[in-house]
Structure formats: structure tokens, C-alpha cells
């Protein structure tokens, strides 16, 4: 009998050592012995009846306990027009009494095990197994409660959903509606659709009546919600009870049940909610690997800050631009992007600002910083002041040069452009998150003839910076540049941790494609290998 080890039911998911992503179900033996079936000389030949031993029903793994997996071995041949019939009953006795529901399944590739690798794995035998997923609550649906009538309202009172007062109020409104309906032509339009606009022919309601009607409508909606919840509980209860299955093969009107020595086999199963989606094992493994990589490197960076980071070409461009501005004896301008102090791009641009400010102070060049957020302004002023004192020129710092220019997008652009045109800077740095205004800033900047270095993680604006600026720090290069300068463990560690992730992705891309190409060329099990990356469920 195919044995599938029940998934572990420990609630906390332990880090799984097994790298084998998917638990291939034990192969269902396709035993060659022909079912001993007193085959009437009809058109159904014995070998087109599934093997008795292979017919089985188990709880569907990795599900919320609402369905059962019925499976059987694909018979030797499936003549045209044949179909499988699954009979489902609530108890063994129901089969004799004829109280069972039949579900017909037609042979086609979608009922083969290969379509559900998370249950049947991807081995060779998956294609030899047929399956059907049966939810008992769908075949034996619970009764749907009817519309609100007097009897139902009274019943709700007994179930403590309504108090006496509320019951009286509801009955009064119900009486009114009944009376009204009998007055208007009986064949009148049924309850007007709940369009916002009520038809004008309903009689003029007093405001009190209208308030009652509104309350009644809210009551109706609330009761429908309670009904829906009760239905879900009822379905869960039905699903939790054992169900019994018989399998048959049908051709035209003739049905032959899979049986053992004359007696059709009845298989039993109970659906149970499971605790782990096995299909997501590769997701869990990858998430844990990436997270631990980031955290370990942050710890390493705390102890050893001089972790290697490649030289960022953008930083040379920055120093060169400041040098040129000093030669032309024109000020340096630093334009902050949007975003609050907490955002990654602002932290990165502030780190680079301190570098730029200290270089400018060394070259004794005036630096003008533009902001559009009060907090960022304050932090920028600190950074520039500290850079000036460190360069031994505390008097060079002038608070007015680091100012909040404007707070919303278009006035910021207008103000910064005005200052650019007036002060004719030698070098302009535009760093941080930018929106559509990036084009306006860089266009005015280039008209002043200054060297422009931009850096942003807003990918939509990169094309405009690339064509208008002399150098552009693209996306994560902005973070790398700030980590390179500030050596801040958080940034260093996460940068290196993400590099581990990128290395993993690159290796999977290169090695994966190579292996799969070779495997496919040699007609090996490449689907199984590629399945490692399958994201299911």
C-alpha cells in the first residue's frame, strides 16, 4: 500500500535540513494482476479497469482540511468514451440504500499526477496515477437558510440573536412591508433592486418609517452575515466527518465497479487541516538563507567595519566635480530629493553630503544645500557644520547656505532652478528620491554649464539623469556609495547580505540553465530539476 508519512504536526516550523524540495509520494505499485472481476462479456475489458489495490483515498496534504484525494492507477488502456465514476457516501450502509452522490471524471492529462507535483512528486510514476479532489461539503451541501420570514425571526430570538424588543420592532416593519406589497399590484416589480435610487412609485414614507426601513435593512445584512458564518462552520463539520468512496468505470450506460472477489471495495478517508504547505518548502529555505546572510554580515560589519566594497566610480566623479568647481571659483550645489529622514535614499544622500561638505571645506569652496523637508534640513546643517570644523575651518559654515527651500514638488523645482540660474554653480549634486521634477532640475543645471552628478533609487527617473548629467549613480550604487563612505554596519552588512543573494541568483541562472540544457539534450528528468524552483500554493 503506498505509504505517505503524515507531515510533521509540530506548530513551530523547524529550519529544514532536507534540501529535497518536494516529498515525492511513494510510488503506487501498479500490480499486474488483473482484478478478479466476473467481467460480463460487455465492451469493458478487464484491463481497462484500474487495479483494485491502487484505488485509495487519503486526506489531501497541504490543505485547510476541506478535501480528500482519491487516486487510482491508470489502467493499461482507456478505450474512447470511457469515464471514471466516483461514488461518495456518508456511511457504508448508505451504499446499499443507494444514498450516494456520483462524480464523473473524464480521462485527460489534467487528472494525471503530473499536474500536481506537490502531491505526486515529479518522478516517472506520477504520470501513471489518476486522481480526483473531492470536497464532501460540496457534494453534501448544508441547507441554505431562507429569506427573513416571521418564523425565522422568532427562531432567531430563541437563539438569543435578537432580543424581545428587537423582535417586536422587526415584526412591525415586516408587517408594514407585507401590507404594502398586497396593496400595490401583486404582479408589481419584485423587491426593487438595491439601486441607490428607490423607484418613485413606493408610497411617501414618513421619516420615522424610513429610519425603521434602514434599520431593518441593516438587520437583514447582519443576519445574512451570521448565516454565511454558520454555513462555513457547517461545511467544516461535514468535511471533518469520514467519507466513503467507491470507484467504477463507465462506458455508455454500463458501469462496472472496482471490486475484490465480487464485492465492490469501499475506501474510507477523513479530511484533516494540515500544518505545512509542502509545496512552499523551497520558499521557506530560500527566505531563511537570505535573512541569515543579511543578519550575519551586519554582525560581522559591527566587529570588522573594513569589509571589502569595490570602489564606486561615482565617488571619483564627485571629487573631480568639486575640484573643477574650485578651479572655476564657483560654488558647489547639493540638491536633496524627496522623502522623510527614515527613508533609505535620504540616509544615503546625507552620508554622501558629509563627504561632499568636507571635500568642499578642504578646497575652501562654498557649498549650497537645498532641502524640501524640515527634518532633513536640520540633519544637513549638522553634517555640513561638522564637516567644516573637521576640515579645520569652523568659520566657513554659514547656516543660510543649508536651507529649506520649499516643501511641495513644483515650488521646490521653481525655487531651486531660480537659485541655480542666479548663483551659477560649478558642480551640482542631485541625490536621493526624485519624481517627475528630476528632468526640470537637471535641464536647468546643464544650462548653467556646471558638472552634474546625480544619484537616485527612483528607476523611472534614471533615464533622464543619464542623458543630462555627467555621471549617474544608479539604484543600489547610491546605497553602496554611502556605505563605502560611512562604513555604517547596518548598510555594509545588508549590502553584503544582498550580494550573497545576488550571487545565489546568478549561480542558479548560469548553472541551472547549463544543467537543464544538458539534461534536456540527453532527455533526462529535467522537469524534476526545474521543479526545484516551482512556486506552488
Amino acid at each position: 500500500m503506498p505509504v505517505i508519512v503524515k507531515p510533521l504536526t509540530t506548530l513551530v516550523v523547524i529550519a529544514l535540513a532536507a534540501t529535497l524540495p518536494v516529498r515525492p509520494a511513494a510510488a503506487a505499485q501498479t500490480n499486474p494482476t488483473v482484478a478478479t472481476q466476473s467481467a460480463t462479456p460487455g465492451t469493458i475489458l478487464p484491463e481497462s479497469i484500474p487495479a483494485t489495490e491502487s484505488f485509495n483515498a487519503i486526506d489531501l496534504p497541504s490543505d485547510d482540511g476541506s478535501s480528500i484525494l482519491v487516486k487510482w492507477a491508470k489502467p493499461a488502456n482507456e478505450p474512447k468514451g470511457i469515464s471514471y465514476v466516483i461514488q461518495v457516501a456518508r456511511s457504508k450502509a448508505d451504499f446499499q440504500a443507494g444514498k450516494f452522490v456520483t462524480k464523473e471524471v473524464f480521462p485527460s492529462p489534467i487528472i494525471l499526477g503530473t499536474t500536481k507535483p506537490e502531491y505526486f512528486g515529479r518522478g516517472k510514476n506520477a504520470s501513471q496515477t489518476c486522481f480526483a479532489v473531492i470536497s464532501p461539503a460540496e457534494l453534501f451541501p448544508p441547507a441554505k437558510p431562507g429569506p427573513l420570514t416571521e418564523a425565522r425571526l422568532k427562531e432567531l430570538k430563541t437563539k438569543k440573536v435578537l432580543t424581545d424588543k428587537e423582535l417586536g420592532r422587526a415584526l412591525a416593519v415586516l408587517a408594514e412591508i407585507e401590507q404594502e406589497k398586497s396593496q400595490t399590484k401583486p404582479a408589481s416589480v419584485p423587491a426593487t433592486a438595491q439601486a441607490g435610487v428607490t423607484k418613485s412609485q413606493t408610497p411617501k414614507l414618513t421619516s420615522k418609517q424610513r429610519a425603521e426601513r434602514k434599520w431593518y435593512a441593516r438587520l437583514g445584512a447582519n443576519i445574512k452575515k451570521l448565516d454565511a458564518e454558520a454555513l462555513t462552520k457547517e461545511r467544516a463539520r461535514i468535511n471533518a466527518e469520514p467519507s466513503f468512496f467507491r470507484l467504477g468505470v463507465k462506458l455508455d450506460d454500463q458501469t462496472i465497479l472496482v471490486a475484490r472477489d465480487g464485492e465492490p471495495i469501499v475506501v474510507e478517508a477523513i479530511a484533516k487541516p494540515n500544518l505545512f504547505k509542502w509545496g512552499k518548502l523551497n520558499n521557506l529555505t530560500l527566505s531563511l538563507i537570505f535573512m541569515s546572510a543579511v543578519i550575519t554580515f551586519i554582525e560581522i560589519a559591527r566587529r570588522k567595519p573594513d569589509i571589502f566594497i569595490r570602489k564606486i566610480a561615482g565617488l571619483e566623479a564627485i571629487d573631480e566635480a568639486i575640484g573643477r568647481a574650485t578651479e572655476m571659483d564657483r560654488p558647489v550645489m547639493f540638491v536633496h530629493g524627496g522623502g522623510s529622514v527614515g527613508s533609505m535614499s535620504v540616509i544615503a544622500s546625507l552620508n554622501i553630503l558629509s563627504h561632499v561638505a568636507s571635500r568642499a571645506a578642504e578646497h575652501d569652496t562654498r557649498i549650497r544645500v537645498m532641502n524640501q523637508d524640515p527634518l532633513v534640513t536640520a540633519v544637513s546643517q549638522e553634517a555640513v557644520q561638522q564637516a567644516c570644523t573637521e576640515a579645520g575651518r569652523p568659520d566657513a559654515f554659514n547656516a543660510d547656505d543649508v536651507s529649506l527651500v520649499a516643501s511641495d514638488q513644483f515650488s521646490y523645482v521653481a525655487a531651486v532652478s531660480g537659485i541655480m540660474v542666479r548663483e551659477q554653480p560649478g558642480a551640482i549634486f542631485m541625490l536621493g528620491a526624485f519624481g517627475a521634477e528630476s528632468l526640470l532640475l537637471s535641464e536647468t543645471g546643464s544650462s548653467t554649464g556646471a558638472i552634474q552628478v546625480a544619484g537616485t533609487d527612483s528607476y523611472t527617473q534614471l533615464p533622464f539623469f543619464v542623458t543630462t548629467c555627467d555621471y549617474t549613480l544608479m539604484g543600489e550604487e547610491l546605497y553602496a556609495a554611502s556605505a563605502y563612505l560611512s562604513r555604517e554596519p547596518r548598510m555594509l552588512g545588508s549590502l553584503r547580505g544582498q550580494d550573497v543573494g545576488k550571487a545565489f541568483v546568478m549561480i542558479v541562472l548560469l548553472a541551472g540553465t547549463a544543467i537543464l540544457t544538458v539534461a534536456a539534450a540527453m532527455d533526462g528528468p529535467w522537469q524534476w530539476l526545474r521543479g526545484l524552483l516551482e512556486a506552488t500554493g
Binding site: A221, K502, V508, A535
Partner: protein, 279 residues
């Protein structure tokens, strides 16, 4: 930004500007009266529709005055827009959030049983919401951290598996495939490649190889743990080429998008304001 920008124009220049502005306003009103006829509409609704269209056209033209230079009229229109948008979202903060989720379940509960269940599910989040608002007071600002803790904690926790699922696994599953059986592109079918490059057999494989190597090159460009010298330099250069062609595509599409916005406004001015029935 116009480079001949004079924020404080000289006395004479200002007078000319004022004159031109006054003239423009008069022309605008005259044209609007002729085409919209706001006062000869029969119902109040239609009159307000006409007045509204005139106002919309006025705002559109005032916004375009920014092209000449940043002027008081533009600043008024922009700030009015910020205020209107602010009022609009405040009303819907009530109508689409607090009213259906806080006011109605509790104050408009049809039965006491419904009120009880509502209180059971909603008391804690309402408290957290009130704590969030405490962020405004300097002294009790820290209370808001509990609300942020729940929101950002849950958001960060759930993001990890979902991003690994959709951004990494699904994308890698599509990217990693035997070259001869790679899922091809949708629009530029392989036959396009073969037709264009006459590599009938090799085209699909060549295309699939370009996809894999290109992705690796772009990823390597954003790889910071290895010096980009020698082979590394070459790979990152190839990465740059792919990036640049893709930025070119984004550039072209962005130009297309901005122009569509302009076409949309011209459409409004011509069709609805001036009611010019184009053929």
C-alpha cells in the same frame, strides 16, 4: 526652468506683464461666454456645468502660465489644488474608512448581539488608532510606536515569503529553463528573430541565451563584493549596455506618457471648453 527668469522683474517689465495678463483674462472670459453660454442654460445643473467647465479651462491655462515663469497665479492655483485634494481625501478618510469600520459597526449595530461581536473584534485596533494619533503630542508621542509596531511588523513579516514567491521563485522558474525549451517572448516571437537575423534554427536558443547572460550581467553590475576589473569589468560593461537600452525604452515610453497627458488637456480644451466639433 526658463533661464531668463527674473523673480523680481524691473518696474517697467512688471507693468507690461500686468497689462498682458489683464488682456488675456478679458479674452478668456469673452471666449468662455461665447462658447459656454453659462447664463442662458435652462437648469441650475447645466449652468453649474458650464461655469465648472470655464473654471476648469481657467485652471488649465493658469497652470500652463508656469511655462512663462513661476508667477502668483500659478502658486494660487497650485495651493488651491493642494487644499481641494486635502479636503477630498479627508472626507473619504471618514466615508471609506472610519465610518464603515468604526462608526457603523458600533454606533449603528442593528442588534445588541451584533454590537457585542463588533466590540470584540474592533476595540483593540481602535485603541491602537487613537494611540497612533497621539504622535502629534510631543510628550506622549511614544504611544504611537505600538500602532507602528503592529502595522510595520506584520507588513515586514508577510513581505518576506510573498516576495520570495513572486519576485524570486516565479521569476527564476521562468528564467531558468533548457535553452531549447525556454518559454519564449510573447510579442517578438522567435520567428521575428529568425526572420530578422536569418538564424532560423539558432534564433530561439540564441534568444534564450541572451536572456540568461543578460540577466547575470545586469545583476553583476549591481554586485559590490568583487572589484570590476578584468573579466568582471567586461561583464559589468555588458550589464551597462543592457541597462542603457532598457533605460532608452523607459525614456521613450515616458516621453509618450507625458505627451498623452498634454494631448488629454488639449482634448479637454478643444472638445469641452471650445466645443470645436472635430470631423
Amino acid at each position: 526652468m526658463p533661464d531668463d527668469l527674473q523673480l523680481q522683474p524691473r518696474r517697467k517689465g512688471q507693468a507690461i506683464e500686468m497689462g498682458v495678463l489683464a488682456l488675456l483674462i478679458v479674452v478668456f472670459l469673452a471666449v468662455s461666454m461665447v462658447f459656454q453660454k453659462p447664463f442662458s442654460q435652462h437648469s441650475f445643473g447645466d449652468t453649474m456645468k458650464a461655469v465648472g467647465t470655464i473654471m476648469a479651462a481657467g485652471i488649465t491655462l493658469i497652470m500652463y502660465s508656469f511655462l512663462y515663469r513661476d508667477n502668483p497665479l500659478f502658486k494660487i492655483a497650485e495651493n488651491l489644488y493642494v487644499g481641494i485634494a486635502l479636503g477630498y481625501s479627508t472626507i473619504f478618510a471618514w466615508r471609506q474608512a472610519l465610518k464603515p469600520e468604526v462608526y457603523q459597526p458600533i454606533f449603528a449595530a442593528p442588534t445588541s448581539d451584533a454590537l457585542l461581536t463588533a466590540l470584540m473584534h474592533r476595540t483593540v485596533p481602535i485603541l491602537l488608532g487613537l494611540m497612533l494619533v497621539m504622535r502629534l503630542s510631543r510628550k506622549h508621542g511614544w504611544l504611537s510606536r505600538y500602532a507602528y509596531a503592529v502595522i510595520i511588523g506584520w507588513g515586514a513579516g508577510i513581505a518576506i515569503p510573498l516576495i520570495t514567491h513572486s519576485y524570486i521563485l516565479k521569476q527564476l522558474h521562468a528564467a531558468v529553463a533548457p535553452l531549447q525549451a525556454a518559454p519564449g517572448p510573447q510579442a517578438a516571437g522567435a520567428e521575428v528573430l529568425s526572420q530578422a537575423w536569418l538564424l532560423h534554427v539558432a534564433a530561439p536558443i540564441f534568444g534564450a541565451a541572451v536572456l540568461v547572460l543578460g540577466t547575470v550581467a545586469v545583476l553583476f553590475y549591481f554586485f559590490f563584493s568583487v572589484e570590476h576589473k578584468g573579466v568582471g569589468g567586461a561583464v559589468s560593461k555588458v550589464g551597462i549596455w543592457f541597462l542603457m537600452v532598457s533605460f532608452g525604452a523607459s525614456f521613450g515610453y515616458t516621453v509618450m506618457g507625458r505627451l498623452s497627458l498634454l494631448i488629454g488637456r488639449v482634448q479637454f480644451l478643444l472638445d469641452e471648453w471650445l466645443k470645436i466639433p472635430s470631423q
